[in-house]
């Protein structure tokens, strides 16, 4: 930006796209594709980190919960003629399910990365030149609250063997409603912050925090989880903490990868700009 007014527009300027092929230009009008790649990379690594973490720490706990479940259902079967037998029939061995955990979280991470990238592109399209590192960290913190923390506060994770298969449809609907309310609520918080741009920092930040609290409170308008939790409180607490920890780990890795790739892209762009300026 040190160029004099007489300097012709740099190749990055939107007014001179004729000289370079538009699709390959670093300043292509829409950065969506690069962001999608960034989201896929960040999501797969975040999911992998969360999956390996849980494989090491949470799976022993899950196996314990499943053994407790089997003991309970055996006692139950003796009570009323094997009503639960059909449901507890195993399709996969536990070790296959251990691998399934990691694969499921990597696949989910990829999908979350795509949604994150598109939301990031929508929110940040007005100022594409801002520093990508603090922006990725802030966006990941908001996404962690919306996708992981708020829904988990309303409907905390349950170890295997707690849920009743008769209520799984209702519980899924409630959980999805909680996630949707949290995500829309986070956009509302952002809008409140943006629209109070004329006010002082304390006013904007307190208004945004108040909106977040209202969204969190709204989650309690949803019905309670109808299932009893017949496991030891220690196991329940440990499982929920490990679940939350794996969410935190996923978002930390996600933010580092997404922001890091953004920084690299910024440096590469600055490099080409610096190289093109003296030549002109």
């Amino acid at each position: 930006m040190t160029a004099s007014p007489e300097t012709p527009p740099s190749p990055n300027s939107l007014t001179a796209p004729r000289t370079s092929t538009p699709a390959a230009s670093p300043a292509a009008p829409s950065p969506v594709l690069a962001l999608l790649g960034r989201g896929l990379a960040a999501g797969s690594l975040g999911g992998l980190a969360a999956g390996l973490f849980s494989l090491l720490l949470a799976e022993p706990l899950m196996d314990k919960a499943i053994r407790a479940e089997e003991a309970r259902s055996q006692a139950h079967e003796q009570h009323d003629a094997g009503a639960a037998v059909q449901h507890h029939e195993e399709l996969f061995s536990r070790s296959t399910q251990h691998a399934g955990l990691v694969i499921a979280l990597v696949v989910a991470g990829l999908a979350i990365g795509v949604l994150f990238a598109v939301a990031y592109a929508l929110v940040h399209r007005r100022d594409p030149r801002a520093n990508p590192w603090p922006r990725a960290l802030a966006f990941c913190a908001a996404a962690f609250c919306a996708v992981s923390l708020f829904p988990a506060l309303r409907y905390p994770a349950m170890p295997p063997g707690v849920g009743d298969s008769g209520t799984v449809g209702d519980r899924q609907a409630m959980w999805v409603a909680a996630v949707v309310i949290s995500v829309l609520g986070m956009f509302l918080v952002w809008q409140v912050y943006v629209r109070l741009a004329g006010r002082s920092q304390p006013v904007r930040q307190l208004a945004a925090a108040g909106t977040a609290a209202a969204v969190l409170a709204l989650l309690w308008a949803l019905p309670d989880n109808p299932d009893p939790t017949p496991v030891s409180p220690t196991l329940l607490w440990d499982f929920r903490m490990l679940s939350l920890a794996s969410h935190v780990l996923m978002w930390v890795v996600f933010a580092a990868v997404f922001g890091g790739i953004g920084l690299r892209a910024l440096r590469a762009r600055a490099g080409t700009e610096a190289a093109s300026t003296p030549a002109v």
Partner: protein, 75 residues
């Protein structure tokens, strides 16, 4: 003057059309990716044999531990 204006007008038009085409293409790709991502999330966290009904509950059982850990409701 008028000649140069007439000369430059088609150029800005093509540039505008090109950039609009790229934007439309990118947003179509983004929309397709979002739909794919939502289907994937449904398959991993919500399917109970309805998406791949021929295979019964296999998808659910394979992703079973991941569901519990992520906080998705399960049986």
């Amino acid at each position: 003057m008028s000649a140069s204006a007439a000369h430059s007008a088609p150029h800005t038009d093509t540039a505008a059309i090109q950039s609009a085409t790229i934007q439309t293409r990118d947003w179509l790709i983004a929309a397709g990716a979002v739909i794919l991502a939502l289907i994937t999330l449904y398959a991993v966290f919500m399917d109970n044999g309805s998406l791949i009904s021929a295979t019964g509950d296999y998808l659910h059982e394979f992703a079973h531990d991941g569901r519990h850990l992520f906080g998705a409701p399960c049986h």
